[in-house]
């Protein structure tokens, strides 16, 4: 067992002891733990945790370094916030850590069917940044599905550079859907035309498209929605949420299995509401502070030896027939254990 796993175990034990101390029975504590786990489960960076979706309720277990390849189903990977072009002290070599992330994907026991990038591919939307990212990610030779982050929309053409590369077969600012092995995937854009004082924004046109897109889908079909900024309100004070995200989620209520994958906040966070599992990915470039734990959401400086334990990728395995989606987060440091 790795050091991180032992640490994680200790944290859980401590929670249990504290609650037993409050006069609750062990059963009540266990029930409370799982409910809390489901409602506000936040997994902070530094460990790999396997999430299994079953009937809308996830269960988590720590993963070992050796992983068996799943027997059936398919998998895909999520990478996020590669910020190519970023070179500040929080990570002077964002291209290097993207390369490490890609190397990690290349040796996964089950070759992912495709890759999802949840935005902030680049730091400043410069052509060379897009080129570098495309070259590194392209070396995987698997399909890529992208949504833009706000950093991918700051060229003078306000999104022209992004759409030229990734806008083919998309609507509006770059939203689209596709099907793979019975799962319906929807890429949404919530970083464009943001309003003063507001949060991420989908806008009326995209919401109308989403409603129409979902109309013909049976409630039994698993849905994966991905966008850059979290669709739910993570932390309003830092703008970590989507203004009209609740409206989008209302269209998804009738579905039995919905997984929402986001980036933007450069840290792992997970929560479940009804049949919807929300997951935010690590960045491949630099970490950001936990909500409210710093004066601003700017890049978090960690000692150089610890950087790779707070960067990483997620892979998502779909178990055919069971409608289960299991999300596993891998930090770049894992391989060094």
């Amino acid at each position: 067992m790795s050091k991180d796993q032992i640490n994680q175990g200790r944290i859980e034990d401590r929670k249990s002891e504290a609650e037993v101390g409050e006069g609750k029975s062990e059963a009540e504590v266990r029930e409370g733990l799982s409910r809390r786990g489901a409602l506000e489960c936040m997994v902070w960076a530094g460990t790999g945790v396997l999430w299994t979706m079953a009937g809308g309720v996830p269960a988590s277990r720590l993963i070992g370094s050796a992983q068996a390849a799943p027997e059936t189903g398919f998998s895909f990977v999520q990478i996020s916030d590669s910020h190519i072009g970023f070179s500040k002290p929080a990570n002077p070599d964002a291209l290097g850590t993207l390369q490490e992330s890609v190397a990690k994907i290349a040796v996964m026991p089950q070759k992912p069917s495709f890759l999802i990038h949840t935005g902030d591919i680049t730091h400043l939307s410069k052509p060379k940044e897009f080129d570098d990212a495309a070259q590194v990610i392209g070396s995987l030779k698997i399909d890529g599905h992208y949504v833009p982050g706000e950093h991918d929309y700051i060229d003078d053409g306000r999104g022209k550079a992004y759409l030229e590369r990734y806008g083919k077969d998309t609507q509006g600012a770059g939203w689209y859907s596709f099907d793979q092995a019975g799962v319906h995937f929807i890429g949404l854009v919530n970083v464009v035309d943001l309003k003063a004082g507001g949060l991420g924004n989908l806008g009326a046109e995209q919401l109308a498209w989403l409603e129409a897109d979902l109309k013909s889908k049976p409630a039994s079909q698993p849905i994966v929605v991905f966008s850059h900024i979290p669709l739910w309100i993570v932390y309003q004070e830092w703008g970590w949420g989507t203004e009209d995200g609740a409206q989008a989620l209302s269209f998804l209520k009738r579905f039995g299995s919905v997984t929402v994958l986001n980036g933007h906040i450069h840290q792992l966070m997970q929560k479940v509401e009804g049949n919807v599992t929300f997951h935010t990915a690590l960045s491949t470039a630099f970490p950001q502070p936990a909500p409210g734990s710093a004066p601003s959401p700017g890049p978090k400086l960690v000692p150089p030896g610890e950087l790779r334990s707070v960067l990483g990728v997620s892979d998502v395995v779909f178990h055919q027939g069971t409608e289960k989606l299991a999300i596993t987060d891998h930090t770049l440091a894992e391989a060094q254990r």
Partner: protein, 108 residues
């Protein structure tokens, strides 16, 4: 045109030029630190040139709420300058991080 009128006109033109020179000389700065514009409210005289400087290591923009001005993305230490010629209240925000809002109050 007689000489005295000519002189008077010249004086007038010079005076106008002077006022203009004075106004152009008035400057002020707004800093962006920790995802916030400082000061959040800046009061200036009409004609003041305001320079916005991004001191974060994340890019920001300076965008008028009413569409009167809009900077490009400002990387670390990049600047954007705008001259506020007319009195009024000018709200603005960062279009990348729209929770960042502030205003310029321009007095006559």
């Amino acid at each position: 045109m007689n000489a005295s009128l000519k002189t008077a006109l010249m004086a007038g033109i010079l005076a106008l030029a002077d006022i203009h020179a004075c106004a152009a000389a008035a400057t002020a700065e707004v800093h962006i630190d920790n995802f916030a514009f400082t000061p959040a409210t800046l009061s200036i005289k009409a004609g003041t040139e305001v320079t916005f400087i991004n001191r974060d290591d994340i890019p920001h923009t300076v965008v008028s709420t009413e569409g009167q001005f809009r900077s490009q993305a400002l990387d670390t230490d990049d600047k954007f300058t705008f001259t506020f010629a007319t009195p009024g209240e000018f709200g603005y925000f960062c279009s990348l991080h729209p929770h960042m809002t502030a205003k310029i109050v321009v007095e006559p």
